[in-house]
């Protein structure tokens, strides 16, 4: 009997390890042969721990499970189990998705190369190996893939710059710093299908002529660090990595590096400094990392999801990928639905779904049942959207046009109990804590920002224009988006929820 119990960090945080232990204990007690697979998560976090049993007619799911549910799972008619969910593919929340990047996450044994290949793994790299260098670059450019780390820069253009550069050594650096609140797609991908990321990095290396890569993972992700490290071992022992890619291509080696709790190290040049063993201060651009990156060598820096999408593009063709999407946002985006929601988790879909549909329909509104007041999209540097902007379609330009950004596609829902002045204060506080210290408007401005919000809260009306000025200064005078975009959450809170800033005043008067 084959049973899948996720090893995903969210599933573990909700008790998956205890369920796995209960299954093994029950099997040992009764002599029932059980083949336990620790898979990734299928992404429906409210149903975790979600366990799947392989039956003659396919896999069928149960959740959320506790150890007490286990005996009935193993010995009774499972069709009548109170936690039975049926096949995952039939659960509407799952069936509505377009799973390309996340196709194998939760489906396969993440560290089994045979399982990976059985589900289409390595076919992208094999096709890439058979192409000319120009064809490879064209494939990425034609797909329309843009960076999923936040800035949305066309991946093919970046790779083209590195491919053209002449240097003794080039690097592929995967940005797995995923510091944005409300995001966990990188974590889930690395825990649930790490070989895809490795394959994507190998294709990147092949395309630009890099022979060495690093995966920089934040220290807050011990499970992802463990899983990636193991996956690199598996990939090396199967000849995917090493002196010759699959025995047919050039050399490519990978190493995991662990961050040290600095949000700013997600910024690509700060990340490179950190990899070099320095303070994670931001570097001025130019020079671009593509030309002068890690140890001064040409370097591709890409987000986990950008790189992990590349194997699908090569396996299925750039045209197939480009057919999904809206406007200049091509393909799919793994939405991370978080905060106060009924149905939170990872929902991969083509660009273009409206924010309202995501919040009200997919997320099912708030978990508390109270009305939605604000939705922060794109992490701590993203704007707060009021329900009046729910018609905005999910796309880079579309969100930009509404004074926001999609960032890494984290969507954090708040009910009407949220105090937006407190959220504005937090945005400034976070910037002050995490500033790399290089520019005054960010380092000092954020501290002043906290003080200014406190003055507004204390009823000082003269502080409001000060806050607006401060935001202007930070936006115009900051080297990177930490200082430059902190005004997004602050100003959106102030603009869309003025009552929360006025009420404080009235209360004080």
């Amino acid at each position: 009997m084959r049973i899948y119990v996720p090893r995903d960090a969210a599933a573990r945080a909700l008790g998956a390890d205890a369920v796995a232990e209960a299954i093994l204990a029950e099997a040992a007690r009764t002599g029932l042969p059980v083949d336990l697979v620790r898979n990734g998560s299928r992404g429906m976090v409210w149903l975790e721990p979600l366990v799947e049993i392989e039956t003659r007619s396919g896999r069928t799911a149960f959740g959320p499970l506790t150890p007490e549910d286990v005996p009935a799972l193993l010995f009774e008619d499972i069709t009548t189990h109170p936690k039975a969910l049926g096949p995952v593919e039939d659960i509407p929340w799952f069936a509505r998705q377009t799973r390309l990047t996340f196709a194998r996450v939760g489906l396969i044994d993440p560290l089994s190369m045979p399982d990976y290949e059985r589900h289409g793994g390595l076919s992208g790299l094999r096709r890439a190996l058979a192409m000319t260098p120009d064809e490879r670059l064209d494939e990425v450019k034609t797909s329309g893939l843009r960076g999923r780390g936040g800035a949305g820069f066309p991946t093919g253009v970046k790779w083209g710059t590195v491919a053209l550069a002449q240097a003794p050594r080039k690097y592929i650096v995967c940005n797995a710093d995923e510091g944005d609140s409300g995001t966990f797609a990188d974590r889930m991908l690395m825990e649930g299908d790490p070989l895809t990321l490795i394959e994507g990095m190998a294709i990147a290396g092949l395309t630009v002529g890099a022979t060495r890569g690093y995966v920089y993972i934040r220290s807050e992700y011990p499970d992802a660090i463990h899983q990636m490290t193991e996956a690199i071992r598996v990939a090396t022992s199967h000849g995917l990595l090493g002196p010759s890619l699959l025995g047919q291509g050039p050399a490519f080696d990978l190493e995991v590096r662990v961050g040290a709790g600095a949000y700013v190290c997600g910024e690509e040049t700060s990340l490179l400094n950190s990899l070099e063993g320095k303070r994670g201060t931001v570097r001025a651009k130019p020079p671009l990392p593509a030309l002068h990156g890690l140890f001064g060598q040409p370097t591709v820096v890409n987000n986990v999801i950008s790189l992990a999408t590349v194997p699908w593009i090569f396996a299925n063709g750039a045209g197939a990928y480009k057919d999904f999407g809206l406007g200049r946002s091509r393909g799919t985006i793994p939405l991370q639905i978080a905060g106060n929601v009924r149905h939170g988790g990872l929902f991969e879909t083509a660009f273009g779904m409206s924010l309202g549909e995501i919040v009200e329909d997919i997320a099912g509104g708030t978990a508390t049942g109270r009305p939605v007041k604000a939705v922060q999209v794109g992490g701590p540097l993203g704007a707060y959207f009021p329900p009046s902007k729910f018609a905005t379609p999910f796309g880079y330009e579309e969100f930009d046009g509404q004074g926001g950004l999609i960032g890494h596609a984290g969507i954090v829902v708040f009910d009407d109990s949220v105090d937006m002045l407190q959220q504005a204060r937090f945005a400034m506080e976070f910037c002050a804590v995490e500033s790399c210290g290089k520019c005054t408007p960010c380092r000092i401005g954020a501290v002043r920002g906290v003080e200014t919000v406190d003055r507004i809260a204390a009823g000082d009306p003269s502080a409001l224009p000060l806050l607006v000025d401060l935001c202007d200064t930070m936006r115009d005078g900051s080297l990177c988006a930490l200082g430059g975009f902190t005004p997004y959450p602050v100003m959106s809170a102030l603009t869309h929820f003025p009552d929360d800033f006025a009420r404080q005043r009235e209360a004080a008067e």
Partner: protein
């Protein structure tokens, strides 16, 4: 207190094991912290020497990153997610209640030295907040009761 000779011997082992890496300083600091729970002061000049860096430079790196401690934490470390998605799920109240339960007025270590409570900005558990990490154990939808149980 750490014995100076023990420290020096183990430190050189750790450094030696990492010298083949490109940019070895962060991996070495992580290994030192895994060994002693913090970065002991006497390690700084040794590191500076071995890596051909200035002491100020090594110190600058240690102080830049939130992870690196210059004094040991308590045997139980409770990290509470203080970021937005957890705030939306009652995280602020949980932080206040937890600090109160440990008799702390702000983040830090209890007077008996047993428990250190710290903020963390996102554990990637944003769809099952409020999230916490108690030593190596992740908690989703954490409550004062589950935190107390995990911190025991």
């Amino acid at each position: 207190m750490l014995d100076a000779a023990d420290l020096s011997a183990r430190l050189h082992e750790i450094i030696g094991a990492h010298l083949g890496l490109e940019g070895p300083l962060l991996p070495i600091l992580h290994a030192i912290q895994a060994e002693w729970g913090h970065i002991p002061d006497p390690a700084i000049p040794v590191l500076a020497n071995a890596l051909n860096l200035g002491r100020a430079e090594v110190h600058g790196v240690v102080s830049f990153y939130h992870d690196f401690r210059t004094t040991p934490a308590g045997p139980t470390v409770v990290k509470l997610c203080a970021a937005e998605a957890c705030q939306a799920q009652g995280g602020r109240d949980l932080i206040a209640a937890t600090l109160r339960a440990f008799g702390l007025s702000t983040y830090g270590t209890t007077p008996d030295g047993k428990v250190t409570v710290e903020p963390v900005y996102c554990l990637g558990l944003c769809a099952c907040g409020p999230a916490a990490l108690v030593n190596d154990r992740l908690l989703g939808r954490a409550t004062p009761a589950t935190l107390r149980e995990a911190a025991r």
